[in-house]
Structure formats: C-alpha cells, structure tokens
Symmetry: C2
Subunit: 110 residues, 2 copies
C-alpha cells in the first residue's frame, strides 16, 4: 500500500532500510507546493535512464553505492554523499549495489 505523504511538521525516519532494502521500492515522501521528496530505491544493476528535473535537485545517498552520471562526469555516490544539481541538467543513475537515496526536487513556481 502506498505510504501517505508526510504533512508539514510530521517526522519520518529516513535511515538505511538495511535488510529490508532488497524488498523495498521507491516511495514518495512528500509533494508540497515547492518541494517534492522521494526515497528512491534502486537495486543492484538497475538504472534510471537519463532524464532532467524541472528545478534544482539534491541527492543524498542513504545506503549502497550508485553511479551518478551527467554529461560532464560520472561519479559514485556512497553512503552520506550529497550533491546538488542545477535545473534541467541531464542525469542518469546506475546502482552498483542495492541502494536508497533521498531525492529532493524543487518544483517550478506555478
């Protein structure tokens, strides 16, 4: 069953899923006016093909190891690694091991 989005002020634990990671899937934590936050689960070998976000994003690796590619470079994100990406920058992901990432997307002003 889909988890309800968290409300303003509501606390959710986003720590490593650990031994539940293999059986977990991506979850939308919140979608508000300005921000959307997703816990992205990507199992070993799986990819997210190149795409662009409408606004700036940040990515925090909660657990695992993921190749993060832009036209400029490919870098590996490990636990606690964090990056910011300008709006509309193409990027693709490939999980090296089972991984989860906290992805924050800034939505364009309406």
């Amino acid at each position: 069953m889909a988890q309800a989005h968290i409300k303003s002020g509501e606390v959710v634990n986003v720590g490593p899923l650990g031994n539940q990671l293999a059986a977990s899937t991506t979850t939308a934590l919140l979608k508000a006016e300005q921000l959307e936050v997703i816990r992205l689960v990507l199992h070993a070998g799986k990819t997210l093909r190149e795409h662009r976000a409408p606004g700036e994003i940040t990515v925090l690796c909660i657990e695992g190891s993921v190749e993060f590619s832009t036209p400029a470079s490919t870098t590996v994100l490990n636990k606690d690694d964090f990056l910011h990406l300008d709006a509309q920058v193409p990027h693709a992901l490939k999980a090296v091991t089972d991984s989860s990432l906290l992805v924050t997307i800034c939505l364009p002003a309406k």
Copy 2:
C-alpha cells in the same frame, strides 16, 4: 576558513561529524537559485530562537537529538529523522545533545 559552496554535480559527504562535532560550527553547503542547504551544528543546550523561513524547508537530523518546536507541537528529532515545514511556519530548535542537521531551504522565486 569558510568552506566554499559546492557546485552543481560536486559531491560532499554529509555524514555524522562524530568526534569532530564538538569543535564544529554551522556550514553553508550551497546557495543556488532555488535551494539553500546548510549543515546546522547546534551544541547541547544551545537554541535557535523562533524564526520563519521564506519558503518550504526540510530538516534531516544527521546526529544527536534536537527539540523542534512549532506553535502546533514540540517533537524530538533523532538521527535520520526528517521533516518538512510549510513556508513561513514559525519554528525554534533546542539541542538536547550535540547535534548536526541538514537543512534545505527553498528560496522564493525571484
């Protein structure tokens, strides 16, 4: 010396500071067009008095334990606890133990 802001696509580790936490201070990780990200360090007993952010924010507790108060409630954030707050909601913080938090602020459209 102040740490330079990270550039789009640049990776920074935001894991627990551990035994460096006591000697650490708050750091601005990035200030872009839409997003500002801060690693807020609050030592035990220290407070951030009530204030409002111009846009939505998210707060992730990296380590430690912090009382997070809004007019609606006071909650304690521990490691890996995450919350979102609507724009302009008054909030105050008090560190129970030495703590660091990843604070993401969505800036108002220019």
